[in-house]
Amino acid sequence: MTRLPLLALVAAGSIFAGAVGARVVADTRAEAAKPARVLAMRRLSETQYRNSIADVFGEDVSVNGRFEPESRRSLLYAIGAGALTVTAAGFEQYFAIGDSVAEQVFDAKRRGKLVGCASPDAACAAGFAKTYGERLFGRPLTDTEITSRINLFKAAEAKKQDGWFGMRLVLTSLLADPQFLFRHEVEGRTPGTLDAHSKAERLSFTIWDSVPDAALMAAAEKGELDTAGGRQAQVDRLLASPKAERGMRAFFTDVLQLDGMGQVTKDPDAFPKFNANIANSAREQVLRTVMDVVLTRDADYRDILTTTDAFIDRNLAAIYKLPYTGDGGWQKVSLPKDGDHAGLLTQVAFLSMFAHPARSSPTRRGAALGEMFLCQPTPLPPGDVDFSIVNDTSNATLKTVRARLEAHAGDESCAFCHTAIDPMGLALEQYDAIGQRRTEENGEPIDVSAEIDGRKFTGAKGLGETLHENPRVSGCLVRNLFSYGTGRAPSTADKATLKAFEQAFVAGNYRVKALIRTVATSDAFFTAPPQSLPAPPAKGPATTVASLALRPLKGATR
């Protein structure tokens, strides 16, 4: 059976009509009988989807398919997730991915381990939907939701005379349900705060980048997440898990815009060494460096800007012109402390992402540093800006990009931004567009002196040290962590809270794990001002199912 008829069968099984038409949010919630208000819906990211499948069904279940593009807002994808919808085509993709997962879960080698009943029948389907639906939705299923799965099971079994096929459709319907594809943050007893299950989800997705496990769900059910002590115990448990690295990787991938490495291309004439393998390695190098500082060594977060420890594989070693003595994996090396090395700032990922295909770009680098470490967004240049001087790399008199940028910034309309952006990027000019060291450009020595906020420095090392001491760097990380977890840009109402977090972060010697504990155990972390949810898409046959997926939970009760 192809997937489209399968989709029709699932839809015909009234899954969505039942689930959404009589929309309720788990009767079993602690706040039962109170009207439920969905404060935010955040579409799962690709990694969250993949991690959730791995955690619920095992890492050997593969997730095959293309995901809908994500959107960065206010510097983070995590914030953009709250504004994402699913297109009709995207829903078909989710459906196909879900069906592929279900097919694997119910193949002969896995179903015995995962399903828990020897032969598929309605009771088995109900039990399965209840157990796994709770994991996937982050809350117990309502009776209506379970009944609709039983109906689907019966319809599918009758049609195909195959109970396992019916079970597979039950799981497909769970995986295609908006309750799984979108994290629903539901209001608790106190207005503007989350209910217990939403708290559990927020903790789990922030720290593990995945759905809550059974212990966290149980803690939520018992109301333990409503107390500081209970939250502390769970946060400590989550942070102690190996899955915490996965969560930290997701966070820093978002903050450091590492998704951009997938789109980096370089002019093969100018940089023949650069290829997809280098790009993949460069991305991993950043994450390994960050994990080493903030997780393995639990060191000062700001050291990611100055560390001379680096991780290299055979590909990156060739870029750095370093010997690689490993056996195919990653190798930790210490670069000379007196060299011009500055942690992530002098790694291939940052230097190649924020550069042109054939040449460096101090402006792009400066702007990116402002966004990542100072939370300082840079406006796009006006449409009619004249880049001719900057782009004239063969200019006989303006041989270096610094000279060309200075000439460009002589234009008053350009100077406003460039004066603020360029100094950080100019300090990195001794690294070319793929991060290789250089000291000259067109035969001219490269000047890497710069000044930020009245502090003068030289080169990448000087830049790293300057940023390391810049108080805005720690404040920016606090802002990013809070936004990443809550899925929203901080408002002025959050100012005092963020300041308190920052003070604790500084007092705790800039340890990220400690910061996570501070933020994720605070009451403020579990607040959620109502946000406007996306409107349902236009009606039409192709969007019927998708529109169900997107329908906001107005009038839902619990």
Partner: protein, 383 residues
């Protein structure tokens, strides 16, 4: 992940690839060979390797007329026509069966008379003065005299190798195989004085199981690291002197390195080998300012080993020479290694050109090349 923490001094690493100030300090430079081919001086123009040139007055050897040579007392013209039908893929099995008594001429080349090859007519050849007699042999393109390259003298018009540098049919085929991961050959030049002038330097040839990496343009990327294969086969260390950056052999020495062919993996059969074993070998290489290494090396190679690289139907079909002609040419040109029983020479002088890119070489055990050189050279010498 490998947990071993290495302290790598960038300053030291940089010194591997940039000239150092002359001094009595041990030094080395490591390379990976990115092109290795038979040294066939090409005297033709740019209009194709088939055309006549100063090397081959009648051009390259023409296509084989199988319809003619396959007709024997036991095979009619019609049978030959059927056998040679382009759609008959089975013919490969029978092409060698054309001796007068059904001998396989690939195994028994002297079962048929010498089919001959178009004669090489030039006086210039790439190579080295292997016999230390400038009166014998060719003149090199740079004017050096006494160039011994009898392989080229006898087979210089063979389409297999006759073309501009890096353009010959077999050169491309064999080097593509190497560059696609068939095998990897490493070179370490080391000394005690300086890379510019050193009276007591060595050139070591090693093999690696680490594949070369291609860059975005399809060329081999420089600066990659390679681990030396702990099995010291196809490797040798050659004593040299260096004068103004020119590396030359300190006398004749046996050279063992990987042969230019398509695949690696050790001996392919009892006689066909991946090893290039050159007796009384010499080399002449130059470390260039751009960090690369180029030059020529040569020596005397066993004629039968050479013949085994040509004695099959595929080589015949695609390189336009009858295998027995290669055998007779090798036998005729053999200029070293007299067999006391027959009084005939058993080895033939030949030469190869080599280009190599800067690389990092890691010895078994994870040591970097400089530290590992004594161990490496001891291993090679002991084999």
């Amino acid at each position: 992940m490998r947990h071993a923490r290495l302290t790598l001094m960038l300053v030291a690493a940089t010194s591997l690839t940039t000239p150092t100030v002359a001094g009595a300090e041990p030094w080395h430079r490591a390379y990976v060979v990115d092109w290795f081919e038979h040294a066939f001086y090409f005297g033709g123009g740019k209009d194709g390797a088939d055309k006549p040139g100063t090397d081959c007055a009648k051009g390259s050897n023409p296509e084989i007329n199988y319809r003619k040579i396959m007709v024997t007392s036991y095979r009619t013209d019609e049978e030959t026509r059927v056998l040679m039908d382009p759609n008959n893929r089975d013919k490969i099995r029978f092409l060698g069966i054309r001796g007068p008594n059904r001998e396989d001429v690939y195994r028994e080349p002297e079962s048929v008379p010498d089919p001959g090859i178009l004669p090489m007519t030039g006086t210039i050849a790439e190579g080295l003065d292997l016999d230390d007699d400038p009166r014998t042999g060719f003149t090199a393109p740079d004017g050096r005299r006494g160039i011994d390259n009898a392989f080229y003298k006898e087979l210089g018009c063979w389409y297999r190798y006759r073309a501009q540098a890096r353009e010959a049919f077999s050169s491309k085929y064999e080097n593509d195989g190497m560059r696609d991961g068939g095998y990897t050959m490493l070179v370490i030049v080391s000394g005690e004085e300086s890379p510019e002038n050193d009276r007591n330097a060595t050139v070591g040839f090693y093999v690696s199981k680490d594949k070369m990496v291609k860059d975005a343009k399809g060329a081999i990327a420089a600066d990659y690291s390679f681990r030396i294969d702990p099995d010291p086969g196809s490797s040798s260390v050659h004593k040299v002197t260096i004068t103004d950056g020119l590396i030359e052999s300190a006398g004749s020495q046996r050279l063992r390195l990987h042969a230019p062919n398509r695949t690696g993996g050790g001996r392919r059969s009892a006689v066909a080998t991946d090893e290039l074993d050159l007796e009384r070998g010499k080399l002449r290489l130059r470390m260039k300012p751009d960090g690369t290494l180029s030059g020529v090396l040569g020596g005397y190679r066993d004629t039968y080993t050479n013949y085994m690289t040509a004695s099959n139907a595929i080589i015949e079909l695609v390189t336009r020479i009858e295998a027995p002609a290669v055998w007779y040419a090798l036998k005729r040109g053999a200029d070293y290694g007299k067999d006391p029983k027959t009084g005939r020479n058993t080895k033939i002088s030949m030469a190869f050109t080599l280009d190599a890119l800067p690389a990092f070489v890691v010895a078994p055990g994870g040591q970097l090349a400089q530290a590992a050189l004594p161990y490496l050279n001891e291993q090679v010498a002991a084999k």
